[in-house]
């Protein structure tokens, strides 16, 4: 590995991080919007939000990326720069998974809390902002943290479209050096390091949010981080998990 090739890889890391940041922001916005819309009074709103989540969770992220890159320009007549096309496809796909997490966490807040809000004459918006969300947020963080790692893994898909992310730079290095073991090992380690950093950050966030509603941070046990599948057996996740 020459310094020039490392520069290439670093450029790839930067693109991956940017894409991760943008699509995580879009996915968060979308998942809160759709997740909250699924608790709306009007059935039309609930139905539309449900339709969005089912369609976008039902299809594959890579198919969605192809669709945004190739079909959208023809369909609407404008072409997005690759970064925004990737952000759009990843944000909408992973936002649909996030919407289920938000909905599940909102539904898991004790009904008495909501009723208390009704009894005190809060408007629906006040109930959501002052009662439901502060209590639901810390519960969302562990599954959202897992989703963020899934999103990081998803960002590798844009390399198929020729976007110069970390995976793409690995391909270039492979072609340049005519050997692959070394570079792919490095790239896997870089992805792992980013994922590790993300889970740490999310755990810190969870502790702060829990402290805000007067709950203790979860005790450290043998399991290093909450994993998607153990949650699968808990009752909350029957609602959250559903169809992946």
């Amino acid at each position: 590995m020459t310094p020039g090739l490392w520069e290439l890889v670093l450029g790839g890391v930067w693109t991956t991080v940017q894409l991760l940041l943008f699509s995580a922001l879009l996915a968060t916005a979308v998942s809160f919007a759709a997740g909250i819309a699924r608790t709306h009074r009007r059935w039309v709103v609930r139905f539309l939000a449900g339709l969005y989540t089912e369609v976008f969770r039902g299809t594959s992220a890579l198919v969605m990326i192809f669709w945004v890159f190739f079909v959208l320009p023809v369909a609407v007549g404008w072409q997005l720069v690759p970064m925004w096309a990737g952000t759009l496809a990843l944000g909408l796909t992973y936002g649909a998974y996030g919407a289920e997490i938000v909905r599940g966490a909102l539904a898991a807040v004790e009904p008495a809390q909501r009723e208390g809000g009704v009894a005190l004459g809060f408007t629906p918006w006040q109930r959501l902002r002052l009662i439901l969300l502060p209590q639901a947020l810390p519960e969302m963080i562990p599954p959202l943290s897992n989703l963020l790692v899934e999103l990081l893994k998803g960002t590798a898909l844009v390399s198929v479209m020729g976007m110069g992310d970390l995976t793409f730079s690995a391909n270039l290095v492979r072609l340049a050096l005519q050997q692959s073991a070394e570079i792919y090992t490095y790239v896997l380690l870089i992805y792992f390091a980013i994922a590790f950093l993300l889970t740490r950050l999310m755990r810190g966030l969870e502790r702060r949010l829990k402290a805000n509603v007067g709950k203790a941070a979860p005790r450290r046990t043998a399991a290093r981080r909450p994993r998607p599948a153990d949650a699968g057996t808990k009752p909350v996740d029957a609602a959250v998990g559903g169809m992946r």
């Binding site: 198919v63 192809f66 590798a156 390399s159 073991a181 699968g232």
Partner: protein
Amino acid sequence: MTWDWGAVSAFMPHFWDGLLVTLQALALGSLISFALGLVWTLLMRAPTRWVRWPVGVVTEFVRDTPLLVQLFFLFYVLPEWGLTFSALATGVCALGLHYSTYTMQVYRAGIEAVPAGQWEAATALNLPRLRTWRVVILPQAVRRVVPALGNYVIAMLKDTPMLMAITVLEMLGRARLFSQARFQFTEPLTVVGVAFVVISYLASLLLRALERRLVR
């Protein structure tokens, strides 16, 4: 935007070929992930940390890194080491390995959910260790984990298009080939997208039916 039904009907034969490959990869990948996941779970219950620790690190690593890069790794690095497989076989191995790190957690949760009384009863009946696992614990654990495993099969279905990147002609690979040859991207890609929604929706219905039968 124009929609050309002619392109759809021209694409359909390719689509069915691709679907067959997708389903093959899915079936074989699921089998590998079910078997390997159980192996990981049992290794994680080994009495010595010299087994648990490496297995834990390796599975965590595989789970937190992109499947796409793992596919490239297997596809390009294994031949350098003198192991040559077909693209589909490589893809199936990568899918199975990647998802086995998820199914291991499902199994673990399932095994932990077997009531302690079952273990105690097996001890009281003086059942040998292997027999305890084979006839008491695993049958009850597997019954509990079927829905969660099914979710991962559906997730794996949605990851099969990645095999396209290592030249496997599954649904999306066929669509790309077809659209590059005819410069019609809209129809094949939309057909494939709709197919994924339909297949995963049908699979989730099937899974719900299975869940009702198994989990009582």
